[in-house]
Symmetry: C2
Subunit: 344 residues, 2 copies
C-alpha cells in the first residue's frame, strides 16, 4: 500500500496525497477530504524506511540495556515511561546491549553512522563516561539520566538524592528518632555521595550528631548485615537507619532482628521504593524517584536537540518523594506530585 496507490484511488497525483499529509493547508478542502477518505479506506500509512531515508532521521532513540544487577527496581519503570513518552513524540525506543565498554562505544557509533537511531538516552552514567564524551565530540544528541561528572558534556535529568535522604531523616525525626545512622555505599560515587551528603546535612539541620553513624559498604548481603550490626552495637546505638537503597534497608532491618515487642529493633527507610518495599512486614518506607517525570524531561530535552543541533546542554534536577508506610501498610506522603526543584 503505497502513496501512489492512494493517489490513483483518489484520482490525484501522489504529490497531492503527500501534501494532504504534510502540508494540509496547501490543498483544497474537498480534495483533501477525498484523499483522506482514500487513505482511510486503503489503510495507507507512510512507509517508515522511505520516510527515514528521505528525512535522514530514524525517529528512534537508542538505549543500552545493561545486564540486570541488584534489585534493579527502576529499570522497568524507566523503560516503560521512556517508551511511552517517546511514542507520544512520534519516536520509538531502540534497545541494544553491549558486553564491554569497547563494544558499547562501537555499538553507539554503528547505530549513529548507519542512521539507525537519532540519539541516545544514557542511564548508568556512574560507570561509563566515555560515551558521553564521544557523543559530545561527535555532536550526537543525547540525554543522561543522572548528572554526568563532566557537566558540559550533555543534557541530563537527575533526582536529588540529597533531598531524598533529607526526607528520610525528617521522617525518622518526626517519628521520634534522634540517633539516625546512614547506611550506603562507600564514598567516591556520585549517587552514593549525594545521598550521604543529604543525610549529613539534614542531621546537622536537626542538630543531631552524626559521629560514627555513617556506615559504608557494598550491597553484598553479608557486608551490609555486618555493618548494620556493628552500628547497632555502638555504645549509643542508632535506633533508625536512613539507607541509600532498599537493599541496604531490607538487609539492615533483618540483620538487627526484632525487639521484645516483636517489631524490628530498628526503623529503616529505604531508597527507590522497589515493589518489595510494600511486601515487607512491617512495610518499608522508601524514597521514590519520580521516574515518569524523569522520562518526560529526558525525552523533551532529547527532542529539543533533534530540533536544534548543537543546543546548549541543560540539566534538570527533580525532587524525590518519601513514601512513608506505617505499620498497617498504608502509604502516606504524596508521591507523584513532584516538581522540578531546579533547572539550570
Amino acid at each position: 500500500m503505497t502513496i501512489s496507490e492512494v493517489a490513483e484511488a483518489a484520482g490525484v497525483s501522489r504529490q497531492t496525497v503527500s501534501n494532504v499529509l504534510n502540508a494540509p493547508d496547501r490543498v483544497a478542502p474537498a480534495t483533501a477530504d477525498r484523499v483522506r477518505r482514500a487513505i482511510e479506506e486503503l489503510g495507507y500509512r507512510p512507509n517508515r524506511a522511505a520516510r527515514n531515508l528521505r528525512e535522514r532521521s530514524s525517529r528512534c532513540i537508542g538505549f543500552k540495556i545493561a545486564p540486570p544487577t541488584g534489585l534493579n527496581t527502576l529499570l522497568d519503570r524507566f523503560l516503560h515511561a521512556l517508551a511511552d513518552n517517546a511514542e507520544s513524540a512520534g519516536h520509538h525506543l531502540l534497545l541494544f546491549s553491549a558486553a564491554t565498554v569497547e563494544e558499547e562505544l562501537a555499538a553507539y557509533e554503528e547505530l549513529i553512522v548507519t542512521g539507525t537511531v537519532d540519539g541516545f538516552v544514557h542511564a548508568d552514567v556512574e560507570t561509563i563516561d566515555e560515551r558521553l564524551e564521544w557523543c559530545d565530540r561527535n555532536g550526537i544528541p543525547c540525554v543522561s539520566f543522572g548528572r554526568p561528572k563532566s557537566p558540559a558534556a550533555c543534557s541530563w535529568v537527575d533526582v536529588d538524592g540529597a533531598a531524598g535522604l533529607a526526607q528520610s531523616v525528617d521522617y525518622l525525626v518526626a517519628r521520634g528518632h534522634r540517633r539516625i545512622a546512614y547506611l550506603g555505599w562507600p564514598e567516591g560515587q556520585r549517587v552514593g555521595d549525594q545521598r550521604l551528603a543529604g543525610w549529613r546535612s539534614a542531621m546537622r539541620r536537626h542538630r543531631l550528631d552524626t559521629g560514627g553513624l555513617a556506615g559504608a559498604c557494598s550491597e553484598d548481603v553479608a557486608e551490609v548485615a555486618a555493618v548494620a550490626r556493628r552500628l547497632r552495637a555502638l555504645p549509643d546505638p542508632p535506633t533508625a537507619f536512613a539507607c541509600g537503597s532498599d537493599t541496604f534497608a531490607i538487609v539492615a532491618r533483618q540483620a538487627t532482628g526484632t525487639g521484645a515487642d516483636g517489631h524490628p529493633a530498628i526503623e529503616v527507610v529505604g531508597y527507590d521504593d522497589s515493589p518489595v518495599a510494600a511486601l515487607m512486614t512491617p512495610p518499608l518506607s522508601s524514597v521514590r524517584q519520580p521516574i515518569d517525570e524523569v522520562a518526560r524531561h529526558v525525552v523533551r530535552l532529547l527532542l529539543r536537540q533533534f530540533g536544534a543541533p548543537g543546543h546548549a546542554p541543560e540539566g534538570v534536577m527533580l525532587r524525590p518523594e518519601l513514601v512513608g508506610r506505617d505499620q498497617a501498610g498504608r502509604a502516606h506522603g504524596t508521591p507523584g506530585k513532584t516538581e522540578p526543584a531546579a533547572e539550570q
Copy 2:
C-alpha cells in the same frame, strides 16, 4: 558517507562496492581488497533506511512493554537477553507501549504496516490473546513467551511451571516436610494453574495429602497474609509453603511469624528467583526461569519465521531450576544448566 563516495575513493563503481559487501565472490580479490580498504578508511557503514527500503525489512523486533506491576522481576532480565540475542542475529529490539488493548492492536498494525518492525515478541500472553490472533490472521511473524491458549496461533516458548513446583515440593520433602501447602493465584489462569497442578501431582507422587492445602488469592499483601495465616491455623497445619511467586513466599513467611528459635515458623519456596530472594533472612529458595534460554529460543523461532513466512508454529517448553538457599545464604542446585524439556 555513502557507498558512492567509497566507490569514488576506490576507483570503482558503487555497484562493485555493494558487491564486495553482499556478494564478495563476484569480485576480484584485488579489487575487493582495495574497496575494503577504502571502506575501512572512510568508516563507511551502509545506511539503514536505504537498506530497509530496498529490502523491505526493518531488522527490528517489536516488543510491547507493559506498565510494571508486582515484583516484576523477569522483565529486565528478559529484555536484556532479548536485546542481546536479537543483536547477535543482526536485529534490534524496538520497545513501544500501549495503554489499552485497542491502542495495543492499533500499535501493532501501525508498526507492521509502516514497516517499522518485522515481527513481534509477546510477553504477557496471559491477558491479551487478540494480538496473537491478529498476527496469525495477518501472517505477522511473532513468538510468545508463554504458551498461548490457542496453540496454533503462533510459535511460543514457555517454562514448565509444573516442573518448577514439583522441584519446590521435592526440595521441601527432602528437607523433612510432609505437610506442604500451595500458595498461588486462583484457578483460571494458565500460569497459576500450571504451577498448582505441578504442586498437586508432586504431592501425589510423594503420597502426601493435599486436602485443604491449596491456598488461592491475588498477590495483594493483606490477602496473601490472611490466606497464609488461615492455612497455618488448620488442625494439621502445613510446615511449608510451595508458592506460585516470590511475592506469595515473602508475604507468607512474614505473615506466619517466627518459631521459638527465632526462625520462620514455616519454610517457603518462591518462584522466579527475584533479586530480593537472596536478601531475605533466611534467604529465600526460589524456582528460577531460564530466561536467557527463553530469549534465545524466542529469537531463533522469530528469525525462522522471517526467513520462511508461513512457517508452522513451533513450541518449546523449558525446564526451570530451583535455587535452594540454606540458612547461610549459599545457593545449591545448578541454575543455568537447563535444557529444553520438550519440543513439539
